[in-house]
Amino acid sequence: MQTINLTRDYDGDFVHRVEEESGQNVSLCYQCGNCTAGCPYTFAYDIPVSQIMRLVQAGQKKTVLSSKSIWLCATCESCTTRCPNQIDVACVMDVLRHMARREGLAAVPQVKTFWDSFLDSVKAHGRVFELGLTVNYVMRTGRFWTDLDLGPKIFPKGKLSLKPHEIAGKEHVARIFERFERESNS
């Protein structure tokens, strides 16, 4: 454990940015732990969500943005629904992911890769091409596809179509992504 120097290591700008981007007042959190108690993913987190909230309050940017937890949060809304102080905790987690991305951090790379593959698929076809997404993900992570066992279960059912559903407006969807990238780079 390291000692945190509260006067020097407090990143006020970080706290402010989290509050602004999430629209939440993090000082409302009184550390009751309800979010951690309800979060189905606590067992997989490196830092429980209530402590993420605490570390945000404490302005500990680096610890928070390099945590695995923010990538494992499934936005299940349990924390937001039950927070006695009506903090939209799930939104804070979302915003922390946005910030981590901007800092080039992703402590659970396969999750980020999966999401990126998903969005690539949407950008390319206008709709998600499930098989293509899976293949893309497996290629990108360079991992063996752990779901191989499922193949025989779904292919015969005709569920995974072999070609994407191209839509007429796919150019429009692609333009949404392009404009977004331009806006965020400007």
């Binding site: 409302l28 009184y30 550390q31 009751c32 732990g33 309800n34 979010c35 951690t36 108690a37 309800g38 979060c39 606590t42 067992f43 830092i47 429980p48 209530s50 402590q51 349990s78 039950r82 927070c83 006695p84 102080n85 009506q86």
Partner: protein, 652 residues
């Protein structure tokens, strides 16, 4: 008029953001001001002496103090100017603390605004006239509304002090919540052993008239002379005949009704005496379940009652009580745990409230003092307590701490071990609030001696699985999620204002906060007084309080009543309306408007005129803004005065 102006620093409270010297200097430019100064603490002894000295030295005939709110110190300064020989009504205040220095940091703007406020006070003062109060007699009877421990204490202290007391309780027995408790913290003595004798005293005290099963219907009048209409609800049992023998309860065939005294965890008969020590110990029929009422046939109780007390055709009755003061002691009710759906209260029988648990612990409760869980009657081994349910929770609009649940949870954990030695209690808490004599020691004992496991964190959900209740919470100190397989879950449900409290407050003409708790006159210095003269508060109707605090307030309210009644006559506030008989055309509009019936019609040289009954007028000024002639003017708030204030602000 020779006006003196005193600008208070209030230490740094005002001086910190208002340049008082400049305000004093500016005041000198206003009409009729002959003296102005700033002063460190105007209300302190040297401060008051300074004012008195200045009145004498400068021959002042009127005084303005600019300081805190008049709601705080107006009486103080009125007394001070009176000591210097002025009429106490030749005094005005400007509120430059609550309305200026405490709400803005801009010193220039604040100073400027203070000058404005002093100026309107001066303009008002210039039009003030000396007033003198008149005296009126008082009815030295007191009504106490609510017969919980606070009301009982207030009633007994007043009665012991020689006053006639009318105690109104809406249930069929007095005792309130305390009568439902098993043992009480921090000494763990038996609740009915310490409350029971007091209840008996109430029944036997010659000075106390008890209206049980009654509610206040309407209140008229004012301090010293209230008229209260009390509705005695129909019990369908003639209480003058009922001996409380209980024969009717034994035979009543309608046995499966939720017993409200047992917090609905046990059944009761349609005709019922809530508990053996009830005061009065009289039966009441619940017409919503009684077969005679619902189906039109039964009549068993009428047949078995040895005294012929049953009266199926009884109706509500209104009695009027004249009293000089009223103590409200209507207590609290519990937060409805079914609103926290994730805990399953109301859905799962083994999730209960702390008060229900008290009934399970109590020897007079539905299980005879054996802890049995409601679902299957089994003795629980693992009992989970969850604190702050419906308290400290903004999402439920209950941001306040209920004050006593930390302590009663510790008590219940201790009692659980006493009842079931091989049991294990778990307490989920956010903070432990136990600031009282022997209180923290008590909660520590629950952990150290009785082995209750305290877990710092909230619970997110409770659900049944294979006969157990799975409690999933967090241990924030360990930084983990935790689960307990519980047999019984006890929720420390928070305290809310008593059902109907706002309605009663409106009848009493006292204020209540947004949660329905009654407002005291001053949060520190007038905790049992209200803003309505002659109406006092005791116990948890003002906010959650434990027994020692409630009893203390009951006694305090009684002391206030006794002090009020220690005089034979009361002085009325002379800031009342007066009729200019030359202007009055006798139209009678004011008479209809006055909410206090304080204006009567009189004959003056053959013409109809209005006349204000001095001791009845409460000084609201409704008549003044109603009279088309401007004939009836509220002293110290006359049309001319208010317009002078307006002009001072507009023309500056």
């Amino acid at each position: 008029m020779r006006i003196g102006v005193f600008i208070c620093h209030c230490g740094s409270n005002i001086e910190g953001t208002v340049d008082t010297a400049t305000v004093a200097k500016a005041s000198l430019d206003f009409p009729e001001v002959v003296y102005a100064t700033d002063t460190m603490y105007a209300c302190s002894e040297p401060g008051q002496d300074g004012i008195i000295q200045a009145i004498k030295d400068k021959n002042l005939t009127g005084v303005v103090v600019a300081s805190c709110t008049p709601r705080m110190h107006e009486p103080t300064f009125r007394r001070a100017v009176e000591r210097a020989g002025l009429n106490r009504y030749m005094f005005e205040m400007a509120n430059i603390r609550e309305h200026v220095s405490w709400i803005g940091k801009d010193r220039e703007a604040n100073t400027n605004k203070s000058v404005d406020l002093v100026r309107i006070a001066i303009e008002k003062l210039r039009r003030d006239a000396p007033l003198s109060p008149s005296k009126f007699s008082i009815n030295k009877r007191v009504m106490v509304i609510g017969g919980g421990v606070a009301g009982i204490q207030a009633a007994l202290d007043c009665a012991d002090g020689g006053l006639q007391v009318v105690l109104v309780e809406r249930e069929s027995s007095i005792g309130g919540k305390m009568a439902k408790l098993d043992k009480t913290f921090p000494t763990v003595d038996c609740s009915s052993c310490i409350l029971g004798p007091k209840m008996v005293d109430v029944a036997q005290h010659e000075n106390i008239t008890l209206h049980a099963y009654s509610e206040v219907d309407a209140i008229g009048g004012y301090v010293g002379n209230f008229q209260v209409q009390v509705k005695k609800k129909a019990t369908y049992v003639d209480w003058t005949l009922c001996t409380g023998c209980g024969a009717c309860m034994e035979k009543c065939p309608s046995k499966k009704n939720p017993d409200r005294f047992n917090e609905k965890i046990g059944p009761c008969t349609s005709i019922n005496i809530p508990f053996p020590q009830a005061i009065p110990k009289k039966a009441v029929i619940d017409p919503t379940t009684c077969r005679q009422f619902v189906k039109g046939k039964c009549g068993v109780c009428a047949k078995v009652c040895p005294t012929g007390a049953i009266k199926y055709d009884m109706a509500d009755e209104i009695v009027t009580e004249d009293v000089g003061a009223i103590v409200a002691a209507t207590g609290y009710d519990l937060f409805d745990i079914s609103k926290v759906t994730e805990y399953g209260g109301g859905r799962y029988p083994d999730v209960i409230t702390g008060l229900q648990y008290e009934r399970l612990l109590s020897a007079s409760g539905p299980t005879g003092g054996h802890i049995k869980r409601p679902s299957d009657g089994k003795e629980p081994k693992n009992v989970v307590f969850i604190q702050c349910v419906g308290s400290r929770d903004k999402s439920l609009d209950r941001p306040y701490c209920s004050g006593f649940c930390c302590m009663y949870t510790a008590k219940q954990a201790i009692l659980t071990k006493d009842h079931i030695p091989d049991s294990q209690s778990y307490v989920f808490y956010m903070d432990i609030r136990s600031p009282g004599k022997m209180y923290d020691e008590f909660t520590r004992r629950a952990m150290e001696e009785y082995g209750a496991r305290y877990i710092r964190g909230r619970v997110a959900m409770v659900y049944p699985k294979d006969g157990k209740m799975i409690v999933r919470g967090a241990d924030t100190l360990a930084g983990t999620q935790v689960e307990v397989e519980a047999d019984l879950v006890v929720l420390a449900a928070g305290a809310e204002a008593a059902v109907g409290a706002p309605k009663l407050a409106e009848k009493l003409r006292i204020s209540y906060d947004k949660y329905g708790f009654f407002m005291e006159s001053h949060p520190k210095l007038k905790p049992v007084e209200t803003n309505t003269a002659g109406v006092y508060l005791a116990g948890s109707c003002q906010g959650p309080k434990d027994i020692p605090q409630s009893v203390g307030q009951g006694s305090a309210a009684a002391a206030k009543v006794l002090a009020l009644f220690s005089k034979d006559m009361l002085e009325s506030d002379p800031q009342i309306s007066r009729v200019d008989i030359k202007r009055c055309v006798g139209c009678g509009k004011c008479i209809i408007t006055c909410p206090f019936k304080a204006i009567k019609e009189v004959e003056f040289r053959g013409q109809k005129k209005a006349e204000v009954i001095e001791t009845v007028c409460q000084g609201c000024g409704l008549c003044t803004s109603t009279c088309p002639q401007g004939a009836i003017q509220l002293s110290h708030f006359t049309d001319n005065q208010i317009l002078a204030e307006v002009n001072a602000l507009c023309q500056s």
